[in-house]
């Protein structure tokens, strides 16, 4: 196959390649390498490899962060192959395998050797080394160790993520102020800001989600809007929405609470619970929000979606929320996504509805009980798989008697996030350093595991001190 036009077809073929490699490994786990199914899978895999090798001197597959790259081009994340992609990246990581290069002289036999080496190395305590040893004599396939993301670059990345985040918040504050003053608002700019957040989520999802875990701002309303937007985009990305749809989703999520503009600040920022009268006012914000959005933009695609989401975001999946309607109709797909992001962020912060904030893991278990009634159960499943058992910001005690804050979730190991250690095993407070709970010792046992979670709000311990 020739690609004069490296468009759709090239992208598809790249996805097939990754998928086929996963299929091949899984097939080999069930059957021997001489089985017909295995041989067929190898043939198909070779076919795809050769179509790439017609154009290039070698075929290089890299795993960098969450993504596979083929000859340095990122492979787009195809939803239909999601499970295989996840599987393959998990297996690569387990072996600390970061790169596989195939050369034109690659044969069926070489592939067989590679696959059985890959499988066997999975049982070794030093998987990468044993993989390397098995492949010593195979010159048509070359491997490289998985590169650890450098700590130094991390500071720089953090700076950019912070800038994007705070800029989105200050923009949102500007929009609300302008609307209050009856001024015009630029949608062009809003779109650009959402786009920069979508880019961040594609590249730096854990860090940006980490930013949403900080709640102690004076004017939380604007941060809430941005957080809901970030979490919604992250769900959208997880379920495979394309970039343009992610922007639309991010935009309507950003404006979901715009109706709160009409609620007097004394009520909104009140530290004590709302009275019944105050609740009645608060419950009108979806109605106000839908109207504000239509007024702002007139009728067009994004304002229609925005108005729908603003009106529906508290209705709940089973219509048991508010506003109550005469003739319930299934909630819009986007409303259901935004509702999950909204509930999570509202529950984990003290200022959205003047209640006691829940620790992230508690909020998640409360939401779990609501899945299927108040919350769309399938979308929630995607959400939990995204944030993990211990979402970012959770305060955790480890079996090493260290204490830390969950810093980044690991999409492949829901209960093994990266943790920032803030108290060492002797009980000394220390400057945070990050550990990965998937790390193992020489005998193959995990070095650290979570044993308990605590309420970070109770001790005013949170990521702010370390992230900002």
């Amino acid at each position: 196959m020739m690609w004069d036009d490296k468009g759709e077809e090239y992208i598809k073929e790249s996805q097939h390649l990754i998928n086929q490699l996963a299929v091949l490994i899984r097939t080999c786990l069930i059957h021997s390498t001489e089985n017909v199914a295995v041989l067929k899978a190898i043939e198909r895999f070779l076919e795809i490899i050769h179509s790439f090798l017609q154009e290039n001197e070698s075929l290089r597959i890299d795993l960098i962060g969450e993504f596979f790259y083929i000859n340095e081009t990122r492979v787009k994340y195809p939803l239909e192959y999601l499970l295989n992609f996840d599987y393959l990246s998990r297996e690569f990581r387990r072996r600390e395998l970061g790169t596989v290069v195939f050369y034109p002289n690659v044969t069926k036999e070489a592939i067989k050797t590679f696959i059985s080496a890959f499988i066997k190395s999975g049982y070794s305590n030093t998987p990468y080394e044993s993989l390397e040893a098995y492949l010593e004599k195979t010159d048509s396939i070359h491997i490289e160790r998985l590169k650890k993301i450098q700590e130094e670059g991390e500071i720089d990345r953090r700076r950019i993520v912070k800038k994007t985040y705070f800029n989105a918040v200050s923009f949102t504050r500007g929009v609300m102020n302008k609307l209050r003053a009856g001024e015009k608002v630029s949608i062009k700019k809003a779109k650009r800001i959402i786009e920069s957040m979508v880019d961040m989520i594609l590249q730096e999802e854990p860090l940006l989600i980490g930013m949403t875990a900080i709640k102690d701002y004076d004017d939380y309303t604007y941060h809430h809007s941005v957080n809901v937007s970030i979490l919604s985009i992250a769900i959208g990305q997880k379920i495979g929405l394309h970039k343009k749809a992610l922007t639309e989703l991010g935009l309507v999520a950003l404006f979901h609470d715009i109706g709160k503009m009409e609620i007097p600040k004394e009520i909104l920022n009140k530290p004590t619970p709302f009275t019944e009268e105050e609740w009645q006012i608060v419950r009108r914000h979806p109605y106000w929000g839908a109207r504000t959005i239509l007024k702002l933009k007139g009728l067009e695609k994004s304002s229609i979606l925005g108005a729908i989401v603003a009106f529906e975001h508290h209705m709940y999946y089973d219509h048991s929320g508010y506003p109550k309607v005469r003739e319930p109709k299934a909630l819009d797909f986007y409303s259901r996504i935004v509702a999950i992001a909204d509930q999570y962020d509202a529950m984990t912060s003290s200022r959205v509805y003047a209640r006691v904030p829940l620790p992230p893991d508690k909020a998640l278990s409360v939401m779990m009980e609501r899945a299927g009634t108040q919350i769309d159960p399938v979308l929630f499943k995607f959400f939990v798989n995204m944030v993990g058992v211990y979402p970012v910001g959770s305060l955790v005690l480890l079996d090493t008697k260290e204490m830390g804050l969950v810093y980044e979730c690991n999409p492949l190991f829901a209960d093994r996030p990266r943790v920032m250690i803030i108290v060492d095993s002797r009980g000394n407070k220390i400057d945070g350093y990050i550990v990965d709970l998937t790390e193992k010792d020489d005998s193959g046992r995990y070095i650290r595991s979570i044993v308990k979670t605590l309420d970070p709000n109770r001790y005013k311990v949170n990521l702010a001190e370390y992230l900002l």
């Binding site: 650009r192 920069s196 278990s365 995607f382 108290v423 407070k429 308990k452 001790y459 005013k460 702010a464």
Partner: protein, 544 residues
């Protein structure tokens, strides 16, 4: 390294392309030539280097530190065009395919001033997600408030300053291990479910909006809010019809009717809603509908029927108006179908269209009346029998043939002598359809008129065909007498009449004429021979 001159040339071509791509449609040779030119320029330039990088300054474009373009004109400058949205660097990579070049040209030739777009170049490039064109953007143009970050961080740090990490640590050992959220792994079923939901997402969510606007009316208070929401309902109708989404309009109208009937809203809202109900019959709405039709949108029969049943007779004049203005035949057909439904509600309003100065509108209205099939229309259309346009005349004749009574024959008689042959043919057919003794009489008279022989064979044939409806002995005798006629002078004309008589006898299947017909079997006149053959075959088959 590409020569500076080459690069300057490339930029100039890019500027030209920016105009051409905007001006010409995709299938135009200029468009195609422009695209190919830029593509081959890029290919050549990329022969020499891996990446082709341009740095963008406010009024200048640089390559490898050298200025290759400079223009300070605010409207014309290509540098400023990229610069103002924040683009600081453009990079074309080796191997760039034609479709990326084309989409890039389309993006830069967007008329950002004229088209009311909410996108800038960066947004469009971002959405397109090029693989071979990269750009560096300076996002500081987006920064709203530079001091915000510092201020927010200060607030948070102050808020968490009372953090008691060690207390947390001490207490941690005392608490019980809480129950965890168990992670349910995603299954293929979940993924299929989501993929399906994404696929089923509507591009146009106006139906849901209408639904919610009606719900929002329950939360509205005061005249201002009522008016605002009802105005949105009306605007949603416009939005939906403009996109060919007739379901939304139907849904909205049905909802509106139902709420008026059940009186679920206060009277003030009801009167506003009545305004919207009336609005769909207005010239403004119907014109929008017409524009959508002419844009090539097609609707399902059942939806059109539904819409028509929800419209009132007030819409008739406006529908007639667009009937005269629409460009496409298929759009006119759609309007005709709607008018056929609504026209029933008021024939006299529909009949006003008969005075339209455009002949085709008049003919369409008559056609619609024929479809409606009410005998009352005879009074409206009869005067049009003298319409100057023969196409209208024929439509009238057909309509009268279908719906008229014995008395109508008298009206149609004159048309058998119309100067236009097609009119005469239509007239004789209609007279035949009316099927009264007078019909036969009038037709026979015309055939026997001395002017009749001069008419064309085709017309004569039509007359005889109509005459053959009457299978009585009178007719057969007459036809036989025609066949027996001898001819000394104007032989061809007479034989033509004989041929026609044979044709009619054949259509009737008159066995009694068989012997006579056989006599002419070997006539030298081919027309006569052919019709004799036709008649004999028919008679034989009839008997057999």
């Amino acid at each position: 390294m590409a020569a500076v001159e080459e690069l300057k040339d490339f930029i100039n071509h890019l500027i030209k392309a920016k105009k051409n791509i905007r001006l010409y449609p995709e299938n135009n040779p200029v468009y195609m030539k422009t695209l190919e030119e830029i593509y081959s320029y890029l290919k050549n330039l990329l022969e020499e280097e891996e990446d082709l990088v341009f740095h963008i300054k406010q009024f200048e474009i640089l390559h490898d530190g050298e200025v290759i373009y400079k223009n300070e004109d605010k409207d014309e400058s290509l540098a400023l065009f990229f610069f103002k949205d924040g683009i600081r660097e453009l990079r074309f990579k080796k191997g760039i395919p034609l479709d990326e070049v084309e989409d890039f040209l389309k993006i830069i030739s967007t008329d950002f001033e004229r088209q009311m777009v909410d996108d800038d170049i960066v947004t469009l490039m971002w959405e397109r997600d090029f693989q071979y064109i990269q750009y560096v953007v300076d996002d500081t143009i987006l920064i709203e408030d530079e001091t915000y970050e510092e201020e927010a961080v200060r607030q948070v740090k102050k808020a968490v300053s009372g953090a008691d990490v060690l207390k947390a640590y001490q207490e941690a050992f005392g608490i019980e291990k809480p129950s965890e959220v168990s992670i349910v792994p995603l299954t293929n079923e979940d993924i299929k479910n989501i993929v399906q939901q994404i696929e089923e997402e509507d591009e146009d969510k106006s139906l849901k909006l209408i639904h919610l606007l009606f719900e929002m009316l329950f939360y509205a208070s005061g005249k201002g809010e009522y008016e605002e929401l009802v105005r949105y309902i009306k605007e949603t109708f416009n939005y939906a019809i403009g996109r060919g989404n007739i379901e939304t309009v139907i849904y909205g109208l049905e909802k509106l009717r139902q709420s008026l009937q059940e009186r679920i809203y206060p009277p003030e809202i009801n009167s506003l809603l009545k305004g919207v109900e009336y609005y769909i019959n207005s010239s403004q709405f119907i014109r929008l509908f017409g524009e959508t039709l002419d844009a090539g949108v097609e609707f399902e029969e059942k939806d059109l029927y539904r819409l028509a049943s929800l419209m009132s007779k007030e819409s008739i004049p406006h529908l007639i108006a667009i009937l005269g203005e629409l460009q496409n035949i298929s759009s006119r057909k759609t309007v005709i179908r709607i008018l056929t439904e609504i026209g029933k509600k008021d024939l006299s309003l529909l009949a006003k269209g008969l005075h339209d100065r455009r002949w085709y509108v008049v003919r369409n209205i008559i056609y619609i009346m024929r479809q409606i099939g009410n005998r009352r229309i005879i009074d409206y259309i009869t005067p049009l029998i003298r319409h100057p346009d023969k196409r209208v005349k024929k439509e009238v004749l057909s309509a009268l043939g279908e719906l008229g009574s014995a008395g109508t024959v008298q009206l149609l008689k004159d048309c058998l002598y119309d100067e236009d042959e097609t009119v005469r043919i239509t007239a004789v057919r209609s007279i035949g359809m009316l099927d009264s003794p007078l019909s036969k009489k009038v037709i026979l008279e015309t055939i026997q008129d001395k002017r009749f022989k001069d008419r064309s064979v085709a017309e004569k044939k039509e007359f005889f065909k109509v005459l053959s409806r009457w299978r009585d002995t009178d007719t057969v005798d007459y036809l036989i007498s025609l066949l027996k006629r001898r001819s000394f002078f104007r032989k061809t004309r007479v034989e033509e009449m004989k041929a026609m008589a044979a044709y009619a006898l054949g259509l009737i299947g008159a066995k009694e004429a068989k012997e006579l017909l056989e006599k002419y079997r070997n006539s030298k006149n081919p027309l006569l021979r052919e019709n004799i053959e036709f008649a004999l075959t028919r008679i034989k088959n009839d008997v057999g």
